[in-house]
């Protein structure tokens, strides 16, 4: 049977974590805030913008350049232990003047706590924020999706490329409010582009290189690829 020394430790709630209970009669605004919000304010006075409690969920607004440090603190500090990254996403409001928000949902499984971190990115400039991939490996695809759908660039992400749309997609960022529901081009043009993309037949140059498959390609195809043409067919 299993040698106890090699069994990985089990992760779970602390014995003195709050007793879980279905939330009831939640006020719209106000109510008890997550204690982590006050600690963030104390630890990062210059980065802390404000904390809201809406429907019992605490949101901490943080300056975009400090998000990484705040999340690093929430992940590492023994009083916080937000070891689980639930979600990374963005919100753009219908009022186009309002800044675009990047949202991180964090959970502390040890302390049974939930907190939402938000950073507001002013539009018009480059939308960029530091990636939390070095802290949570699970952020990989979530950040790629934000980039794909909203055009927010995550600095330090190892492989930031489109994920749901194909790599040659040219219409922009679909979940932005200035993107029309039916897309930018006519149906005929969209169909033509989608057929021409033929993503199954494509390998990225990176994929061809890892497998040394590039050298095996026919010489005319190699020449075309070196001439800057996109891979495919």
């Amino acid at each position: 049977m299993t040698d106890p020394a090699t069994v990985p430790q089990t992760v779970g709630p602390a014995p003195n974590a709050p007793v879980p209970k279905t939330p009831k009669n939640i006020p719209h605004r106000g109510g008890p805030a997550n204690a982590s919000a006050a600690r963030i304010k104390e630890k990062f006075p210059s980065a802390f913008v404000r904390a809201d409690v809406v429907w019992g969920e605490t949101t901490v607004f943080v300056r975009p350049d400090a998000v990484f440090d705040v999340i690093q603190y929430l992940h590492d500090d023994p009083n916080e232990q937000y070891a689980y990254l639930s979600d990374v996403t963005c919100v753009e409001y219908r009022d186009l003047e309002q800044p675009l928000e990047v949202v991180w949902h964090l959970r502390s499984i040890t302390w049974r706590a939930f907190i939402r971190i938000k950073a507001q990115l002013t539009k018009g400039a480059r939308l960029s924020v530091k990636s939390v991939w070095p802290i949570y490996k699970g952020a990989d695809w979530l950040e790629r999706e934000c980039y794909d759908m909203f055009g927010v660039e995550f600095e330090g992400h190892p492989d930031l490329r489109r994920i749901l749309m194909w790599e040659q997609y040219k219409e922009g960022f679909p979940l932005r409010k200035d993107f029309p529901l039916r897309g930018r081009f006519s149906r005929a043009e969209q169909l033509r582009q989608a057929l021409a993309a033929n993503p199954e037949a494509r390998y990225s140059m990176e994929e061809l290189q890892i497998a040394d498959a590039f050298e095996d390609l026919p010489s005319d195809m190699r020449k075309r690829l070196l001439g800057g043409e996109e891979t495919g067919e």
């Binding site: 879980p20 009022d95 490996k137």
Partner: protein, 436 residues
């Protein structure tokens, strides 16, 4: 340096110890506590060394459970690197949701994780209700628990059947789909639909259960454990099954947490995280059930965890059926819930309410909510932002199988090509949910 070892289970009954229990292969960890799963590939013939092959698995391969494409770099038959490509089924649900009223979004939730439609409907209704600041009735709560656990059984049965097929056992597939048919018949009796149920509305359910329905469910709860026992007897100690699954695709608890795994994937690795227990909803804390937690986090542990979850779902369903209270299913708020047909056609007031709810839709106050439930795949969350109009500014699905799948390059590394199929099956992906 990690101490390497071979996964030493032969394809016979030698996978069992003297008591007939499956033999667990101890995991080996390196100095930093990460699990090393496989022995390094054997030294190659000199003339073959360094020759890597590129294999394209999918998007039309039956074992990828949908349109998933994996580009695999192979050294002999060992996977060196895996690059997943998703997005073939991308439909823009989140974009469409921004142009729909809350009740109109519910049919879209059927279609993302289509094996778990009632669970998605309930999860969305819970999220929307928090945004509206309302709570459903007591009877509705219990009915929703019944819907969620039924859909967990449905989803796990499909997972069980297809995984058995992937690994080479055909019979459990037929047994599990037979039981799934029984659940679909029950659902058809409740709401008229089998796959795309649209079972909930904001503030209630589409309908109360019909007369005699609860007896049908009780009958199912009596016969279903027999099928689980049969599958258990056939598969759990089967030498081929054990040999194909033990020690494959293991993730340690810290890794699982860091990669954002949730649901059975995380629990098989030893992360005791179940949304029903830790962040309960629908009074789950008042039900008596256990959360199975594995130790090694390999494919076999994921199988055991899911099998135990089937039994626990039966337990929850039995308690829910026993406590099902009488009373209304929908809340009493004419701004949110449609009036009855009789009232709408005979009373002026009700007709106005009917018109307003249908044409304009219910309006939540400005705010946002993130409500997560324990779907069969893991933590399924709906994040909704309202600006006070009847349509959400942002409707975000937190897809558990999307995050679980993102760890596949880590899981398949160093395994054989045939193990990629087993690992991919163990994640329990639904491409409708991944691509949305």
């Amino acid at each position: 340096m990690a101490t390497k070892r071979t996964v030493d289970v032969a394809l016979s009954t030698t996978g069992l110890d003297s008591q007939g229990r499956p033999q667990r292969v101890p995991l080996v960890t390196d100095e930093s506590g990460n699990v090393t799963t496989m022995e390094a590939p054997p030294a190659l013939e000199p003339e073959l060394e360094g020759e890597h092959m590129l294999i394209n698995l999918g998007p039309q391969h039956p074992a990828t459970h949908g349109v998933l494409r994996l580009v695999l770099e192979l050294d002999g038959e060992t996977v060196v690197r895996c690059i997943p490509h998703v997005g073939y089924l991308h439909c823009g649900f989140e974009k469409i949701g921004e142009y729909r009223q809350y009740n109109q979004i519910i049919p879209w939730t059927d279609r993302e994780d289509y094996l778990n439609s009632p669970g998605n409907n309930v999860a969305f209704a819970l999220g929307a209700e928090r945004l509206f600041g309302i709570e459903c009735t007591e009877r509705c709560k219990v009915l929703r628990v019944i819907a969620m656990e039924m859909s967990r059984i449905m989803s796990h049965l499909v997972w069980l059947g297809t995984t058995c097929i992937d690994i080479g056992a055909f019979t459990p597939f037929l047994w599990s789909f037979q039981e799934r048919e029984n659940i679909y018949n029950l659902l058809e009796g409740w709401c008229g639909a089998r796959l795309t149920t649209s079972l909930t509305r904001v503030g209630g359910m589409i309908a109360d259960v019909p007369d005699g329905w609860v007896e049908g469910l009780k009958g199912f709860l009596q016969t279903f454990p027999k099928t689980i026992a049969e599958v258990d007897r056939m598969v759990t100690r089967n030498g081929i099954w054990v040999g194909r699954t033990i020690g494959i695709g293991a993730m340690s608890a810290t890794e699982a947490l860091n990669y954002g795994l949730s649901g059975p994937m995380a629990r098989a690795s030893g992360v005791a995280y179940d949304v029903r227990k830790d962040f309960p909803y629908l009074d789950y804390e008042t039900y008596d059930f256990d959360v199975p937690v594995g130790t090694t986090g390999d494919v076999y542990d994921r199988f055991l965890v899911r099998m135990e979850e089937l039994r626990q779902s039966v337990r929850i369903l039995e308690q829910a059926v026993a406590r099902l209270p009488d009373g209304p299913v929908n809340i009493d708020d004419p701004r949110i819930i449609l009036p009855s047909k009789t009232k709408a056609t005979t009373e002026m007031e009700s007709m106005i309410h009917h018109f307003k709810v249908v044409m304009e839709g219910p309006r939540p106050p400005i705010g946002e909510s993130y409500v997560a439930v324990e779907s069969p795949k893991g933590e399924k969350g709906y994040y909704m932002v309202s600006d006070g109009t009847s349509k959400p500014v942002r409707w975000r699905i937190r897809p558990p199988s999307f995050v679980n799948l993102s760890a596949i390059p880590k899981m398949v590394e160093g395994h054989l090509l045939s193990d990629v199929i087993a690992i991919n099956a163990s994640i329990d992906i639904v491409m409708g949910e991944i691509d949305r």
